[in-house]
Structure formats: C-alpha cells, structure tokens
C-alpha cells in the first residue's frame, strides 16, 4: 500500500517537473518556429499571407498572448495546404498553444504529489481529511484555466462557467438567508443592484465619464478606484442598505417579510432610476465603460473565496444559531439567542455577498442598468436555491451551474426550428426553451422538494463510500 503510494508520488513529481520545464522552454521558440515555417513553405509569396505573417510578428512585439494565438491560427490555417502541420512544426505549435495549460497541469500534479507525500507523513490524519476537498478545488481551478486556454473565452462553455460562478455566489448568499436562517427574503435583486451600481460608478475611467454621463455633464464622481477595492465597496454598500432596511423589516414574520423585502427591492430600483440622482447613477441610462475582467478565473476566484467565507460562517457558532432560528424561533430565543441581532447579521452578511455578486454580474455584462434588477431576477435565484436544496451550499453551487447551462446553452436548440430528416419537429420556436425550463423547475418544486442535495453537502468521502458500497453490493448480489 505504502509502496504503491510512494511510486505514485515519484511518478507524479517527475511528470509534473517534465511538463513544467518542457512547457516553459518552448515559450521562447516562437520566432524560430516562424522561420522554420517560412523555410518550409514552398509556394510563391502571396499578399494575404505576408500580411498575416506581419500580424503575427506585430502581436509578438505587443506580447498579447491571445492575439498571437489568434493570428497564428489564421496564418497556419492559410498555409494549411503547404505546411506539414503533422510533423515537427505541428508539435511545436501545439506546445506553444498549450504551454500555459501544460504548466498549470504540471503545477497541479506537483501539488497533488506534495499533498500525497504530506498525507503519508501526516500521523494525526488531520491533513489527510482536508486534502481531498482541497485537491478537488485545485482540480476545478486548474480545469477552468486549461479549458479557457483550449476552447477560448468566446465559447459558450466559458460564458456558462463565468455566469454560473457568479450566480453560485448570489445563490449561496440567498441560501444563507432563506435556507440556513429561515428568513424568506425576496430582496436579493435590490442588493445586487446596489452592488453593481457601486462597482460601476467607482470604476468608470475618468476620461470616459463625459461619454457615459452625457446628460449629466460627466457626473459627480470624478475619480476611479481599483477594481478589487470597488468590489469590496459594492459589498459594503449593499450591506449598509441591508442594515438600514433590516431595522424595520426584520421584525416581520415569514410571508410579510417576503413581500416587504420585495417592496424594498422595487423602491431601490425606482430610486436608482430617479432623474435627480442622475449625476451619480446616470438616471435611467446605462452605466458602461467600467473595468471588467479578462479571464474566467477572476469571477471563479472571487466567488470561490466568498463562498468559502460563507461556508465558514455557516459552520461557526453564528451559523449554528442561524440554523436554530430556522428550526424553531421560540426555542432558539429560549436558548439565549438574540433573535433580532442574529437575523440582522444574516441579512447584512447575505446582502454583502449579494452586493459582490452584483458587482461581478456587472463585470460580466459590461454594462449595467437598474431596470434589469426586477423581482423576476430574485425569483430565478430563489429557484436555483430550491433546485440545489435549501440549506446546502454545494447544492446551490451545483444548481446554479446547471441552471445557467440549461437556460443559456443546452436548451437553446428548443428555440429554433429543427428538422429531423424532412420531419419538422413540432412546437419548437422562440420561447419554447423557457417553457420547458419552467416545467422542469415546477417538477423539481413539486416532486423533488428537497432539490439536488437536500440540506446535506457534497462530500467526497460519502461519494467514494457510496461507490464502493455499490461495488460491494454487486459482489454480494
């Protein structure tokens, strides 16, 4: 047992080192690669190809990797009939294209090897317990990074991943309130709006403000803050408003609370569109030209950190108090839990993260407008929470990826007329996707009331034990 493990560790380390060293070394071979391609080309020079080659060289000078790749792609596809892309050049091209992915894979393998080594040395077993989930997370991030490099950030897959990560954060923040504390709040869109606007207002470049605030003489805010600071501010602004709104509203019970928070979200929306606040919010016009991210990893990292923080809160004493309130308010109060303070805390924390989620959503959309943050948006997030399971963080995360993928990608074909041979599939036309989608949601709500995860969390241990159980069952059967 131990022996195989050590062999594995050595094998992993060697692979990792090989990958890292190799992928880093091919990085500088680009001009050489171009020369070799030129040497191998046999046909006469043609204007279009010369231009393409110039572009490659220019982008190498600029150092913009994605641009180099795009131009290289064009150059090689133009030469495809004259170059031997299966030979040495093809191999080198492959390594250039996938260099960073290979480095990332190498690093991941190295980390895995280290983790295994530590597990072997670890006598107490504490690390051994923590290692699998950490490695899973590392695998997810490495996977996302590699995927982005391989399929390109324009693809639908990456869009779904981006939006899914953002919605995961928002859904988890709502779950904290609805699933863990038992407060039925429908104000999430309002807090997202505050977050999105705060972020956008502070990160529009000073030079472009006159363009954005064209009816308000460039607006009042005349400075720009770094993106990360603004994201923090977005969360704080949402939390602050939640604090104020919570003072009166949190005294209400269940559905009254729901309708009051829904009302507040509507009021927030009207206030942000108010002409009188135009120099700050741009009135009812779009905000745009603010800082956005250029890698899918950004929303993944921010959302991941935030979700981890929420998970820590849920597992703390406060989290246990929240759950006590959810299960029985009166009993919780009798146990000495200050009901109002804890509800307020849950409300403010949830809104803080909803604000950050709003900021990320703004970055994803590249423009933001108050009119979009309607109660329908809140309902969608609520449905994600329900599908994932009230009271399950991992459930919300899984459900938001499924929800986004289904609504934006997998079910898209339902919106277009389809032919199977000469048979036109009936019913398929614009809007059918959403009908099917809402029927599925209704089915979940009615028949799988607990959602995907119920109130449990995804655990590798349980998964593996279930798998081995099933194996065992087969043996016995």
């Amino acid at each position: 047992m131990k022996k195989t493990r050590i062999t594995l560790i050595v094998l992993f380390t060697l692979c990792a080192l090989a990958l890292i060293i190799f992928s880093l070394s091919v990085k500088d071979s680009l001009p050489g690669l171009l020369d070799r391609m030129d040497a191998e080309q046999t046909a006469t020079q043609d204007d279009k190809m010369l231009k393409a080659r110039d572009r490659v060289l220019e982008s190498i000078r600029e150092g913009d990797r994605s641009k180099i790749l795009r131009n290289l792609e064009r150059y090689t596809s133009g030469w495809a009939d004259r170059l031997d892309l299966n030979g040495e050049i093809g191999l080198e091209l492959f390594f250039f294209r996938n260099g960073p992915s290979l480095t990332a894979l190498g690093l991941f393998l190295l980390a895995a090897a280290v983790a295994m080594a530590l597990s072997v040395l670890d006598r107490k077993g504490r690390f051994r317990k923590a290692a699998p989930p950490l490695m899973l997370i590392a695998a997810v991030y490495t996977g996302v990074y590699i995927l982005e490099n391989v399929v390109g950030s324009d693809s639908m897959l990456m869009t779904v991943l981006e939006k899914g990560a953002i919605f995961a954060l928002i859904a988890v923040s709502m779950n904290l309130l609805n699933g863990f504390t038992g407060l039925f709040s429908l104000g999430q869109a309002g807090f997202m709006l505050i977050g999105a606007y705060t972020y956008a207002i502070f990160t529009i470049e000073t030079g472009t403000r006159p363009q954005v605030y064209q009816y308000y003489a460039g607006g009042l805010v005349q400075f720009t803050l770094p993106a990360l600071v603004s994201i923090g501010l977005a969360g704080l602004a949402a939390a602050f408003f939640a604090f104020l709104i919570g003072l009166p509203v949190l005294r209400l019970k269940s559905d009254y609370l729901a309708i009051a928070t829904l009302g507040f979200a509507e009021i927030i929306r009207a206030v942000f569109q108010y002409d009188g606040l135009g120099p700050i919010t741009n009135g009812s016009n779009l905000l745009r030209k603010f800082a956005t991210y250029d890698t899918v990893l950004f929303p993944f990292v921010i959302a991941g950190v935030c979700i981890a923080l929420i998970a820590l809160i849920i597992n703390s004493t406060y989290g246990r108090s929240f759950k006590a309130i959810r299960d029985d308010e009166i009993a919780a109060e009798a146990m000495g839990i200050n009901l109002f303070r804890h509800k307020q805390m849950a409300f403010v924390i949830s809104s803080f993260f909803a604000g950050i989620g709003g900021a990320l959503l703004a970055m994803y959309q590249t423009t933001v407008q108050a009119a979009a943050f309607t109660s329908a948006m809140t309902y969608e997030i609520l449905l994600i929470v329900v599908i994932g399971g009230m009271g399950s963080v991992t459930g919300s995360v899984i459900a938001s990826f499924l929800f986004v993928a289904a609504s934006e990608w997998w079910l898209r074909f339902l919106d277009n007329e389809q032919m199977i041979g000469s048979f036109q599939v009936p019913l398929l036309r614009s809007g059918f996707r959403m009908v099917v989608f809402s029927v599925v949601i209704m089915a979940v709500v009615l028949f799988y009331r607990k959602g995907i995860m119920g109130d449990r969390e995804l655990s590798i241990k349980r998964l593996t034990s279930r798998l081995s159980l099933r194996k065992g069952g087969l043996k016995n059967g």
Partner: protein, 295 residues
C-alpha cells in the same frame, strides 16, 4: 374652483377606475390568503391569461360566447393550478408552497410569452363599455364608470355568499382554524377549490374591465397590477374582503395623486412604501384581525 376640478377630475376618475380593477384582483389574493395563508403569486398571471384567452376567443367567436367562455377558462385554470401545484404541498412548509406559487407564475409567464411570441396583442373592443363618455368636463371611457359600480355589486354578492350560505360558512370556518374545521367534517379541498374558483372568476371580470381600458396585452401586463392588488389586500387587512376593496381604491387613487404631483418615477415605489409602513405599524392592516402566534 372649477378650474381645479377640470384639471384634477381625470386623475380622480382614473384612480377610481384602477382602484376598482385592483379590488377585483385583490379579493382573489385575500381569500386565498385567508384560507391557505398563501400569497398566490400566480394570481396576477391568471389575470393576464384571462386577457389572452379573450383575445384569442374573440378572434373566432362572437362576444356573447367569448365573454362567458373566457370566464369559464380562467376559472378552470385557477382550479387546475390549485390542484396541480398547491394541493400536493398542503403538508409541506409554507415556504415550499410559496415557492411553488412563484414557479407557477414563472411558468405561466413563459407559456404566454411562447404562445403570443412576446408581442403585445390588442384587446377586443367590448361595445358600450369601450365608448367614450363626458362627465362634467372630463372625457373618459364608459368602463371607468362601470368598474366601481360592478366591483361593489360583486363584493356585496360575495359577502352575502360568505355570510349566508353553507359553503360560505365552511370558508369562514376553514380560515379561522384549518385543522379543527377538518376535524369537524368540512371537506377542506372542496372549500379551497371554491375559493380559487371565485378568485379566478373575479380576476377574469377584472381583466375584462382593465384591458377594455388599457388595450395592449403583454405577458407581463398583469405582473404590476397583481403586485399592487396584493399590496391593497395587505393594506386593507389580509383575509378581509371589504378591507381589500377599500385598500384597492385607496391605492388606485393615491397612485394617481402621486402622478398628478409630477412624481411619476415613484408611483410604483410609493405603493410599496405604503405597504412597508402599514406592515410595520399595523401588520394586520386596516381591517384585519391580529394574528397571534400559537406556541
């Protein structure tokens, strides 16, 4: 003075008319809430479906058939929604059933979007009530005058029904105490179905009046009136029918006063502000009974 009236009479008329239409929707909310303690989020969408049914029916058949048929289809829909989406959840926590209501609303909206292609449809003209009429100095549609009268008439009928018939008595009993009335042999499911049927019927009538006045129907047309009618129901004291009606008229008129003052951006926000104020200071509304938590 006459100038003042001339300038402001149209606002008042619009307010009363809208108020009457909100009232008809609000009754549906308040009755369902009174019995099931459920905010039936789908009610506003049933109101819109009624309008589309009318649009499509009227394209193929004469008015005297399409009007009653629309009411019948709407009632059937309300009944079906209850049976399919709410009944299976009767023992589930209240949050689940509310989520189911949101799900139904989502489904109905998407379905309407799919069937209509997401474009506004023109509501058919119903003769007489769509014609113009001049009162004092203000010109308006006949429906503006008909609405409050019809609303009051229907409410009186409904109150009679609730106070003086067997099913009405059963409804009162169920809303007082769900469990006990079950033990007393009241057929709960029947009572609930009747409640939904009455609510949907009134929503259908409300939709006929509302869209005769504002003739473009879109899948989301009913969302705002629905929400506002709900606010009216809470404002008047949820569970109380006269409360819902008075609340609806107050909200309809206030909304138009706000618009008259030039604060149009806040005309919707105002309604919700009113709701929150009421909830904080008198959670049981103007006429509602205070609900005590049982330990």
């Amino acid at each position: 003075m006459s100038d003042f009236i001339r300038a402001n009479l149209p606002y008042l008329l619009a307010g009363i008319s809208v108020g009457g239409q909100y009232a008809l929707i609000a009754i549906g909310y308040t009755m369902v809430y009174g019995i099931l303690r459920l905010i039936n989020f789908a009610h506003g969408d049933i109101f819109t479906v009624a309008a589309f049914v009318m649009v499509y029916m009227n394209a193929t058949m004469p008015l005297y058939i399409s009007l009653p048929l629309t009411a019948a289809v709407t009632v059937a829909l309300g009944f079906a929604v209850e049976r399919v989406a709410y009944k299976p959840l009767r023992t589930a926590p209240r949050m689940s059933i509310m989520i189911s209501a949101i799900g139904v609303s989502y489904l109905l909206q998407n379905l309407m979007w799919y069937i209509t292609g997401g474009l506004a449809k023109q509501y058919p003209t119903i003769p007489w009530i769509s014609s113009s009429v001049t009162i004092y100095t203000a010109t308006t549609k006949m429906v503006t005058l008909v609405t409050p009268v019809l609303t009051l008439l229907l409410v009186i009928l409904l109150v009679q029904l609730i106070n003086h018939t067997k099913i009405g008595m059963a409804m009162r009993a169920v809303s007082k105490d769900f469990e006990t009335s079950k033990l007393m042999g009241i057929r709960i499911n029947q009572v609930i179905s009747v409640t939904f049927i009455i609510g949907s019927f009134l929503a259908a009538v409300g939709s006929m009046l509302y869209f005769s006045n504002y003739t473009a129907v879109t899948p989301v047309s009913g969302a705002m009136p629905g929400l506002k009618a709900f606010v009216a129901a809470v404002f008047g004291g949820i569970g109380s029918i006269p409360g819902a009606v008075i609340g609806a008229f107050i909200i309809g008129i206030c909304e138009n006063i706000i618009k008259a003052l030039g604060l149009t951006t806040f005309s919707d926000a105002f309604t919700f502000a009113l709701l929150i104020i009421i909830l904080i200071f008198k959670p049981s509304g103007l006429f509602g009974e205070a609900i005590y938590e049982k330990v």
